[in-house]
Symmetry: C3
Subunit: 342 residues, 3 copies
């Protein structure tokens, strides 16, 4: 794969500064780039690396251009422009259209002629697979699942009955969509299963990470809106709703019926209690414990900082005395006040 820099500039909508005939053969980091490499700069802090780069071209902002020792593609948003450029070099071959002979496909399933059903897939009754969709090896779709046009399930993905997945999505290996919500009724100490009769609905342009699990709703559906991006190892419980264009880093867990707004950013390992409402545009830093609804936009955090173990032990013990300490502090203030008066 190689491309003239002038052509690349046109494809990503950037202004060329330098030699348009320069041939780009791949992407690279500022530091690791070799001749032929294309890289990018978003943060002026790294200008020193820019000045030392061996890349053949750098995507950057106007302000950084004077510091660039080589060809440049100038744009207001270098990260987006780089994303577009990298798509040119993405090496994945297109999946072959059609149903692999080893796949087991129900007679009643409707598969678009140019969709790809990979080896050892199992496609249940009444499934609908859209144009250009790519169901990778070992995926299992129970009955009545629909997959939108251009959506790819990478491999070993399981989608339970009746779930509806939008267009242009990407679901990574080992993900599970539509498993039963965790619902049980207690009868004299024994747990009786509450059937989970809702489904999971994923919008368009949704990406779901490897081994991420999204449970079906108890009665109504669990809903992931358009443009949501979920990293790996995430757990989404029944009847959660995640608003459009929200992102979650790895290992987040969201308990049942919580509604998360649009354009939120949830840091990795965060746990969110059930039945909460998180407003649009909220950022939560990693490993936070969220146990109350958040109505005001902003950045939220919880947790305690890392320390040497011996010091941590001493402080952690004191945490258990915190309320008592607060009372003693108040008492001291009172006594001191009296002493000053008297």
């Amino acid at each position: 794969m190689s491309i003239r820099l002038a052509e690349l500039a046109e494809r990503i909508g950037a202004r060329l500064a330098g030699d348009g005939d320069c041939v780009i053969t791949g992407v690279a980091t500022l530091i690791g780039a070799q001749p032929g490499g294309l890289t990018f700069l978003t943060n002026p802090r790294y200008r020193k690396h820019l000045q030392a780069t061996r890349a053949s071209a750098v995507i950057l902002k106007e302000d950084d251009l004077p510091f660039c020792p080589t060809n440049a593609l100038v744009t207001a948003n270098p990260h987006v422009a780089y994303a577009r450029a990298a798509q040119v070099f993405a090496p994945r071959p297109a999946a072959a259209a059609g149903i692999h002979p080893s796949a087991i496909v129900a007679d009643s399933a409707r598969i678009a002629p140019d969709a790809s059903i990979g080896p050892h897939c199992v496609i249940g009754a009444d499934c609908v697979i859209g144009a250009g969709a790519d169901i990778g090896p070992g995926c299992v779709l129970e009955h009545g699942v629909s997959i939108g046009a251009g959506t790819r399930l990478v491999a070993n993905v399981t989608v339970y009955y009746g779930c509806r997945i939008g267009a242009h999505g990407l679901i990574h290996a080992g993900a599970v969509i539509g498993s039963d919500g965790f619902g049980f009724a207690n009868e004299r100490g024994v747990w009786v299963k509450v059937p989970q009769l809702g489904a999971v609905v994923l919008g368009d342009d949704v990406e779901i990470g490897a081994t991420t699990t999204i449970d079906r709703g108890a009665v109504e559906d669990t809903v992931i809106e358009d443009g949501v991006k979920l990293d790996n190892q995430i757990q989404v419980a029944h009847n959660v709703r995640i608003g459009a264009h929200t992102v979650m880093a790895a290992a987040v867990a969201v308990a049942g019926s919580t509604v998360i707004g649009k354009h939120c950013a949830i840091g990795g390992c965060t746990g969110i209690v059930g039945h909460l409402e998180i407003a649009d545009g909220i950022t939560i830093t990693g490993m936070s414990m969220v146990s109350k609804s958040l109505k005001e936009p902003g950045v939220y955090s919880s947790g305690t900082p890392l320390e040497r173990n011996d010091q941590w032990h001493k402080n952690a013990v004191r945490f258990k005395q915190l309320d008592e300490m607060a009372r003693r502090l108040k008492q001291l203030e009172k006594e001191l006040e009296e002493l000053k008066k008297g």
Copy 2:
């Protein structure tokens, strides 16, 4: 699927109050119900929704009956009665008995005639599959695995050699039962694998969530007793024992050799250190860190509350000074006492 309300009342053991000829076509929430819908009320707080419901029938307690604008099914435990009713409407078609032609089944495996072995399953030597068990697509059972009567493995589940799974269980997609416990001996900085020669034993009526992993024992077995319900993304390490009818929400991790009692409830994202004993009937709230044995029943918690990030930063820094603050507080008390005396 539709059923007369009188018949449903009989099937779930509730008292009919209203029109027994009313036809129920599905379950619903109090708020979302349409005519034909059956719903339930457990918490008197939601009586206002009860009074506005469009459901054709509501399962409720005697005390809530006067507030019900439609037909009712009266019972002491509406949640359990709803669970039973919902089972009537669960849409999953029964799996076809027999071995799918694409499954690879060892000659020495014993499969009950009415069990179902799904497409692309792999069943190892000497496995025993009980009556009515349902091994879904893409499941892999190594040699010597036994699956009890009526137990279902949904899809892409892996069960390692020698594990024994009880009757009437449900194991969700992507779960892994019997992977090696994490055991290594250190020889001059290099880790030597300690073979994990125990197995995993699951009792009857156990439910295991999607992508949950349960490691085999080092020498003796890892044991999950009857009626335990584990949510998704849970990790159970080698030689753990989980007592009967205990439930764990998603993303809990239990380290090796810890023994958890019966009828416990462990909140999501909780981490439990190894070699502990957790008594019967204990509740632990979500995201707790459990590093000591718990002998007294009760509710336990740890963690710090969510705050705005700027405020959190200030408080988190103080956490590292907590022991010092406690000493200074004590010193102040002493000095004040002296001042008051003197």
Copy 3:
């Protein structure tokens, strides 16, 4: 399986003390052992169990020999010697060499004649499978994957294109190697995918736990060095590097581009922020939040201790007042000082 104690002593390099003709039939715990059983003692604290053991032989240190009521195998490192002995009793039958007829293998893949490709595997174009490697049932390897000699993928493992896995490794069921790193560029609120063009490189003697996920690099590779052992449910983000012989317990998550040294030990459920450097030989206790680089060897921790829920509530509220308490404490000290002066 049975073996004379004298032969076992020779195989594991321990000194025999007792009856070399004694026949060992399996491994056991000190407490659970029956005649024929072999067990081990590393910690003198358990000498009382040693004295009561019914095992036929015990692997132990010289210092513990006087307390041993039965045959002994004496060695400086009983845990390592036990690991070697247990390997003798490991019951897994060797996988049959060759390609199972149900596997789908690309013509251009090069499979060593004595490697085993299990049922329902899918091996992509240009893959290279080394001597004695064992690709278990349901594994999917995209194109251009290489698997070193003697490495085993247990079942339902997915390896994305171009990843390179070393020799003598073990990858447990449901693990995913080489899924896309979580990289998106924001264009007016909508997330644009940044193609992830690096790969994952695993060294030799690496063990990866069940459902653990390791993302491919954005441009350069994600690297796991020789001898690393990762437990289940771990998430390793793009461009992380984990140094040789480091171990991580279950459910750890490491964010992007963090570099972890050699011979580290990371406790379960720990979250590590991106772009950090963790020096060689560092230990981090379970459930820690690591948000700064660690340059000094040592043991590090964070988190708060478990308490009864009512007490915890009171203390947790005070955490939010911690900075204010510190200021009031300082003010009190000042006032008291003035009072003493005046």
